[in-house]
Subunit: 253 residues, 2 copies
Amino acid sequence: MKYKQRAEMCANPTAKKLLELMNEKQTNLALAADVTTKKELLEIADTLGPEICVLKTHIDIIGDFDSDLIIQLQRLSEKHNFLFFEDRKFADIGNTVMHQYQDGIYHIADWAHIVNAHTVPGPGIIDGLKEVGLPKGRGLLLLAEMSSKGALASGAYTEKTIKMAQANKDFVVGFITMRQLIDDPCFINFTPGVQLAQGADALGQQYNTPENVIAKQKSDIIIVGRGIYKAADPVAEAKKYREAGWKAYTSII
Amino acid sequence: MKYKQRAEMCANPTAKKLLELMNEKQTNLALAADVTTKKELLEIADTLGPEICVLKTHIDIIGDFDSDLIIQLQRLSEKHNFLFFEDRKFADIGNTVMHQYQDGIYHIADWAHIVNAHTVPGPGIIDGLKEVGLPKGRGLLLLAEMSSKGALASGAYTEKTIKMAQANKDFVVGFITMRQLIDDPCFINFTPGVQLAQGADALGQQYNTPENVIAKQKSDIIIVGRGIYKAADPVAEAKKYREAGWKAYTSII
């Protein structure tokens, strides 16, 4: 099913907006900006923004973070038309994640269209995040599988995660997963650990190709990090991933 | 086995220091300070510091965080002799948690004696954290079980977590768990969700008593939060928990 048709079927405003954006902009590429300075993050957002549907951030690794960074990032998101996904991997009880999502220095709920959560604490984590995020029209991804070696998110863990998503379709907009888990047009599948060549890093991260992830595993969005921003020419490299991801999508619709 | 004897057997300097401190100060009470302002956190650290072995923080929910908070907290930890446990629940791949542990605004590795991590990403998360924390003599707790309703950390998940701890005894100093998981004097068991009366909150957190946790389940440290700092007289309430926890400990050694 095309992104456009799926957008029409989804109630969550963030899911709808993302699918529309992917269709219009013709990209299913998310960039993982794992950098540690404002300057690098803003440069990535401005130069690679035109190629991507989602900018995935780790706001808590930016050493010189301040509120001006958020203002500048929001302007770039409007300029280049992409959404923010703060890869916070919430993993605590409901009462705590509510604070982590809306309070503190970062006020994540005020600017991140999408966040994600582990399901290991049980469904209370979704209840807590939803209380903050749903009134703002935000979306939540559940970590159903991970790309790292020896990950424990598999089998019954993944099955229970899918059930928690189905019980919260107003707020849960998809999964972090290696593949399409269930045939539901309103769950958007994000797959990390994507590179043009297969391989692994020294700390257990394992890589897969865009073709395999989108066309074979029926995922929706490829998340690419170091493969792009550490390349000699990041824009040219982003275009390669964008084309590979889009070609894989158009080959199966 | 007594805390003192266990301290002599442990190689990790943080595990050793904590067990010695618990023995000298006669307390196995950890306070969970889930507050959102500097003022509240410093007040808790100063007034309740004399009763506790560990102050458990969520530094990322403090709205007016600045580096002065860390300096003031460190002075209070010296004044009252307790350790910091930043309840960050790291839950990402090794490369990312390295940054989250040492970089960003918080520089957690520079002040938190203890941090914790979920094992769902696989053993690479321990490798990443260890690379930062071991040279500083820090200790890591693995989340082997959770106190929230419907938690997925059980059975094979918990067993695999224990194996990861055993493979990293230089850095892993214990578990977040509801009970003693293995009979190893160098793993210190921290149990959250403790109140003087059993019960639950509206977001799935479930409570257990100090007697049950320490004497029956053979855990080592009770983590108490709202039960103490939201009481009419927090110091008096902390003393009650401290006495209940210590009495339970002395009843079984």
